[in-house]
Amino acid sequence: MKHVINTALDAISVSGLDYGDIRVVNRTTQNLSTRNTVVEAVESTSSLGFGIRVLYRGFWGFGASNDLSSQSIKETAKKALQIAKASASVGLKKVKLYPVKPVQAKYQTPLKIDPFTVSLNTKINTLLSCDKIMVKVKNVTTVQSFMRSWREEKIFASTEGAYIEQILTETGAGFDCLATDGKEAQNRSFPNSFRGQFKTCGYELLDELKLHEHAQQIAEEAVLLLKAKECPAGEFDIILDGNQLALQIHESCGHPTELDRVLGYEAAYAGTSFMNIDGLGKLKYGSDIVNLTADSITPGGLGTFGFDDEGVPAGKHYLVKNGIHVGYLTSRETLPVLINKVKNKKSKAQSNIDLTLTSAMRADGWSNIPLVRMVNVSLEPGIWKYDDLISDTKYGLLMSTNRSWSIDDRRINFQFGTEIAYEIKNGKKTGRIFKNPIYSGITPSFWNSCDAICNKESWTIWGTPNCGKGEPSQLAHTGHGASPARFRKVRVGR
C-alpha cells in the first residue's frame, strides 16, 4: 500500500495545504443468522478503499474512492482540494488543528482464536443449538440467533509524517425469541438485545457467553411475560442491569459529551447537547459516586484500539468525576475551540477539567471522514456487592435488556423500555416479573439519584455496534462498561 499512500500525499502537496491525511481501509465481515432452526443468512463481505482529507487554507475537503489506481488517487486528491476550495467560499472561521506528535506505529487487537479461522459448521451449529432449545418451548413462535466476525485493516498516514498500521478484530453473538398467544407478543434476548454482545476479541467470546446454557431460561421468560402483569406506573427505586445501563450511559453521557455536538456541528442531524461549555467543571451531572470515563484501552471494548483516525494514541480520560462534568470527547479541530472558550472564562471550578485529546476521532470505513465518536464510555464500578444491593432495596424493580430507547436532541429528556422487570421486595427478588417496563427522566436528575453502583465483580464491558451519527450517516462501534446500579424515585410507566 506504500504506493497508494505516497501517491496521495504527493498529490495533495500543493501550495496552501495546511494538513492532509490518507486512510486506506480494508474491512471484512462475516454475518450469520438462524431463524427457527433454519439458516437464514451466511454472508461474507469485504470493502477496500481510501479516503483523502485535506485542510486547505483553513477549510476541509474530503474525497474517497474504491479505485486504488494511481490515476484515481490523483483524481480523488484533486476532488478533495476542489471541495476544500468550495468550503472556503462559505467559510468564516479557519480550522486550526491541535498539535499531535506524528508517530510510526502498529497495533493489533489481542485475540486467542481468530474468528475467521473457525469453521462455518462450528459457528452454524452453535447458533442452531440455541434455536433448537428455544423453539421447543410452548408458545415460542420465532427464535433467532446471530453471530458476527468483523475485521478492519487500516493504514493512516499524514503530511505531518504519521504512519500507523492497525488490525482491529471484533466478535459478536447472541439470540432472541418471541412468544405469542394470539393476543400478546413478548420477546427476550441474550446476552443483550439487538443481536447480542460484541467485543474486540476473537472467537473466545463464545466460550465466555455460553449461549446455549441460557437459551431455555430466556425462552421460558418470554412465555411467562405473556401472562405477566403490566409493569406498575409511578415513582419507584429501580436497579438497571448492566446491559441496560450501558445504553443509558451511551445516550445520556456519551453523546452529550461529544464536543462537535456541543459546538453545533451536529445540530441539523444528531442534535446538540445540554452539557455546554459554561458547565464544564461546574455541572453536577450525577451523584458523588458517579465517575464516567472515556477510554480506548480497556481490553475487549468496541472502542479499544491503538490510535484514532487522526493518529492520536489511545488513552483514558474522565468525562464525569465524582459527579462533576470535567471533560469532553475531543478532536484536533474541536479541542482548540474549547481551549479558547475556556481560557476566556477562567475560574476556580475549572482547575479540575480535562483539556486534552481523547483519541475520539473515528471514521466508518474508508469512505467517510472521521467524526468525534465515543470510544469506551463507561461507568466506573462502585463498592456494592450485587447481592447486598438487592438486600438493601426495600421495594424496587430490576430492569434488564433494552427494548426501546428515545432521547431528545439535547440528550436530556429520555425514555427507555426494557424487556423485563423483576420485582424486589424487602431485599429479595420475589420471583414476580412485569411486562412492558418503561422508565423516563431528565439526565442530570436521574444520574444524581444514583445511590449505589455494584463492584468490579459485576462489571462488564458491553458492545454497541450500531451507533449512528453524521451526514452521510456513519455507524460506529462503541463500548460501555457498567455494573448494575440503583436509582431512587424514578418515574416508571408511560
Partner: protein, 462 residues
Amino acid sequence: MFNALNLKQITDYIIKISQGTETEVLVFVDENALTRFANNQIHQNVSSQNFIVQVRVMVGRRQGVASANFQFSILNFKLNAAIKKKIEDLVNQAYEIAKISPEDPDFSHLPGKKEGIFKYQEVDAFSDKTAKVTPKHRAKEVALIIKMAKDKNLNAFGSLSSGFGEIVVANSHGVFAYHPYTQSLLNIRILGDTSTGYAGEINMDISKLEIESAAKRAIAKTILGKKQSEVKPGDFEVILEEPAVSEMMTYMTYLGFGARAYHEDRSFMSKSLGKMVMGENITIWDDAYNHKMLPMPFDFQGVPKEKTIIIEKGKAKSILYDHYLAQKYKTKPTGHGFPAPNTEDAFASNLHLMPGSTPRSQLLNGIKKGVLVSRFWYVRNVHPKELSITGMTRDGTFLIENGEIVSGLRNMRFTISIPKILSNVTHLSKETRLEPSDEGFGANLLPAIRTAGFTFTGVSKL
C-alpha cells in the same frame, strides 16, 4: 456512468462461472457528495464513490452470499485478469458457503425460474443536472440559505447532498434489471435563541429542490416559535405536519406491513386482513412508479414492483411480500424485497397517504386548544404489535388556541399507537409533500393531518 452493457459483462461472467444450481448477482455503483453547514458556514464537505458486487449462489436449497467492492471506476474499467480473479474468488466464496449451509425448506427458486422473463416498466429516475453538480454549485446554494438566516439574525445548519448510481439485479434464469438513478436531498435546520425550525426537500433532480422556499419555511417556523410557553402533558388534538406523518408511515412499513411480521403474529395487521384497523378516511398504498417520487421499477431480487394498496378506507387490504416470503406463504411477491439474505421483512419505500379536502392553511380552523407538531425526533418502537412508538417533538411545536397559533411550545415527549392515532383523523390536507423516508431509503408522499387523542407524556426541561 458504467451503463447496462458494461455492467452486464460482469453479471454474465459471474453467472457463467458459478457452479451453483442458481445464481443471483447484484451490482451497486454510486457516487455521492454532501456539503454540510453549521453555525452559518460549511464545516464538512465530502465525496465518495464505490462499486459493489454481491453474489448469491444456491446449491439446491442451500444459500451462500458474498459481497465485495471492486477497485475500479469509470476511469479504469477493464474486465482484466486481476478483476476476473477477484470475481472468481467471490463466486467461489459464495459457493463454498452454500455447500456447507443447511437446506432452507422454505426456499423454492430464484425469481424468473417459473415466472418467466419479467418486463419492467420504464421510469425516469435520472437527472443529468444532479449527476453533474459541482461542489461549487452546492456551496452557492448553501450560501443562499446562510444569507437568508443571517438576514434574520439566525443560525443555519444542515446539508445538501447529490449523487447518482446504478443498480443491477441479474440471475441465472435470465433476469436482468438495470436502474440508473439520481438523488438530491436538502436538510435545513434554523436555530434561534429559543426556537428552531426545519425544512427538508428530496428530489431526483437537484434543480427542482425548492431551496429558497424551504429556507423560508424553516426560518418562519423559528421566528413563529420565538415566544415559548408550556402545556401540561396529556391528550391533545394535534396537527401533524408531513415530516411527522412520514415517520409514522415508515414505522408502519418497518413493523407492520411486511409478510414476515404479519405471519409471525407481530404486526398490528396480523389476523386483521379485511378488517377495520384505522379510520375510514385513511388509504395507504405503495407506488414505485409515481414520477413525482424516486421511482424504481423492481426490487432487489429483480421482481417488478407492484402498486399495492395496503390500507383501503381504514381496512387492512394487503401485505407486502418479497419473493422468498411469497414462496414460503404460497402467494405472489409484490416486489418489495431487500437484497438477500434479508433477515428483516418486505419493505415499502414509496408510500402514499391519500390526501383529503381541507386546504392546509385551514387545518387549524375550529381547534379550541391543540398542538401543531412539525416533526418527530428519535422515534422508537415501544410495543411492536400495538405499533406504539415514543419520541420527542422537534423543530417547531406550537400551541393552538381558537384556531390560531398563539406561541411556540417546548419540545414534548409522546407515546402513541399509530393505528389508534390514524383512527382519530378528522382532517387531511388536500396538498401533499414529498418527504424523505426516515430510514434513509425512498420517500413518502403525504398530506398533513389533524387528529385527536395524541398523548404527550412529558415536557423537555432546560
